[in-house]
Amino acid sequence: MLLVIAIIAATLRLATPLIFASLGGVFSERSGVVNIALEGIMINGAFFSILATEFTDIPFIGVIAAMISGILTSLILAYFAIHLKANQVVVGTAINLLAASFTAYLLELIWHRSGQTNPVKHAIKAHPIPFIENIPILGDLTSQLTVFVYLAFIAVIISYYVLYKTPFGLRVRSVGEHPRAADTVGINVYKIRYKCVMISGALAGLAGATLSLGTVRLFKEGMTAGKGFIALAAVIFGKWHPIGAMLACLFFGFTEALKIQSSAIGLGFLPSELLNAIPYIATILALAGFVGKAVGPAASGESYEKGDK
């Protein structure tokens, strides 16, 4: 039983940053902007949450700083992709490169060291919840989870509501499917895309804070280790839908949890590399249509020129 709880807790914990980042990816791609930069935005978020917490001693401010840094980073993508109509993939790649170098540079400038920071004194820790903590299984489980985990699921519900139940969501989806038609009915394509890319920046920044402030309490170079790309995979595997993306993240988190516990549950014979590769293989299979058809927003990746054609 303890093992099952440990696996569930690890799955939820590992899926949380992925859920935030992939929701960001969903917003951005639904509006027609491919966000390859999720990885870079996450590393910035991870860095600035630790930086702000170090100086203020208030983790909450760290979280806010991560989201602001995410928004600012995403604005680079927005400006180049939407305004200058640059190739979105190239810009995303540049941002990933810039963010990795920029945070490592600041690490040396501020802490005068490379590699990693010291742990911050106050971080966001797992708390037992009153009332629930006395319930046998649920209590054991929730005492291992941070507030980020709950926040992630709330964010899924809000994202679903916003995208499918509000006029804004309808506009976002129409801009991502057919910007020309959206423009014709008076929707400001640029504005919607800017908003969505900024939302995706805030969420990916939050994902970074979850990684640093929410788990190891410090910033380490390269700590995102491809999680931004897994989140991107989850967007596709989840068919560009908030709930689908969440399920994909839970699945990816589960495979990682299995890897950690593989010897304890008798899966030690499986090479860890196979479990590592599952999210990526699954995504390729999904794209190839072996796991149902995955069709993205039609205008995703296309820049839009007002008054074209």
Binding site: I36, A100, F229, L287
Partner: protein, 367 residues
């Protein structure tokens, strides 16, 4: 008349490199701001960078060594660009090419150099080509976007390589000796000659004949693209798939082929690293970044094979120079920032065009 035409061609040639040139300049300018922020002088920093990578023949050798994988991955990205495909997976193709090189060197270990070197080279090439053609086939047959597939394949390739390093090509498995975090070493006969054995003035530098292979590959890429029917078809598909199809050119065949050739170049980057420098493959947590820098190399080289040689050397200078800047007390990450800025401004070339136009209109005002 004739000279006029030549002048025009020359002007066109210069014009096409205006944007990369200004982007590079902006990269160094913004880099200078970051250097000043550390309390150092950009002149000292860039002096150290240039002197460190070009100051003597051994230093130039080290720069060329750093340029070699970048020319290969730059060619890979540039070649795919010509079919309007984005190969963001040179990273994974590099890793697969490296591991197939070691595998071939082991399988054919008894052979002499003149057989072993071509065989391992072909193995590295095929490894990369195979890995990239997965994305090419999915794109051609099922319309799956190659960007996402190649990104995913980077990570699958990383894990595949780590698996083979740990459990198949490991000295513990093959020789029954102690387990290492790297593969067995490739035999002497498979290793490429260091240039210093031919030209002693290269001294301590490890630059080897793989730089020559890289330059030959760029010339071959140029010939394939601009002097053969295949190249014509590939470029036609890149320009307009519909028109190409109408003209009787098979779009899917050319997509797969161009992706495979692109991957072959990336695989050769892995081959060059194994056969020319490290003689083994290590277990790694993340890929070395040659694929992503390759995007920058291709963009700065205007996606032209010969341009790629020049920009590959430029990025080699940066990569070699960062160590020397660090000795002067400047964080080496400044180089990563410069690279990022260069890619950003080439991608958003409108800003650069705007800067050029403003300069021109000012000139006209003065006139």
């Amino acid at each position: 008349m004739a000279t006029n035409k030549k002048d025009n061609m020359f002007k066109k040639f210069l014009d096409s490199f205006k944007i990369p040139f200004i982007a590079i300049l902006l990269g160094f300018l913004i880099g200078a701001v970051f250097i000043i922020a550390t309390g150092n002088s950009p002149f000292v920093a860039y002096g150290a960078l240039l002197n460190g990578s070009l100051g003597s023949l051994p230093k130039i050798g080290e720069t060329l060594l750093k340029s070699t994988p970048l020319i290969f991955t730059g060619l890979a990205v540039a070649f795919a660009f010509k079919t309007d495909m984005f190969n963001i997976g040179a990273e994974g193709q590099y890793l697969v090419g490296a591991i197939t090189t070691v595998a071939a060197a082991y399988v054919f270990r008894g052979l002499d150099s003149y057989l072993l070197i071509p065989l391992t080279l072909i193995a590295g090439m095929l490894g990369g080509a195979f890995w990239a053609s997965i994305a090419g086939i999915l794109k051609a047959k099922l319309g799956v976007h190659e960007v996402i597939v190649t990104i995913m394949l980077n990570y699958v390739g990383l894990n595949l390589s780590n698996y083979l390093v740990r459990l198949v090509l490991n000295p513990a498995v093959i020789n029954g000796t102690e387990a290492k975090a790297h593969t067995i070493l490739i035999p002497e006969a498979a290793r490429l000659t260091k240039l210093k054995t031919i030209i002693p003035a290269f001294d301590y530098s490890s630059v080897n004949t793989s730089i020559i292979i890289a330059i030959v590959c760029a010339i071959i890429a140029y010939f394939i693209l601009y002097k053969t029917t295949l190249g014509y078809e590939i470029r036609a598909v890149g320009h307009s798939p519909l028109a190409a199809e109408y003209g009787g050119i098979s779009v899917s065949k050319n997509m797969i082929l161009s992706m495979a050739i692109s991957g072959a170049f990336a695989g050769l980057a892995g081959y060059a690293q194994v056969a020319g420098l490290v003689y083994k493959v290590d277990q790694v947590a993340s890929s070395p970044g040659y694929g992503f820098t390759g995007i920058a190399v291709a963009l700065v080289g205007k996606e032209h094979p010969i341009g790629v040689i020049a920009s590959g050397i430029l990025f080699g200078i940066l990569a070699n120079g960062e160590r020397h800047m660090q000795i002067e007390g400047i964080p080496k990450e400044v180089v990563g920032i410069i690279q990022g800025v260069i890619i950003l401004f080439i991608a958003g070339d409108q800003i650069v065009k705007y800067l050029i136009n403003r300069k021109n209109s000012k000139k006209e005002e003065v006139a």
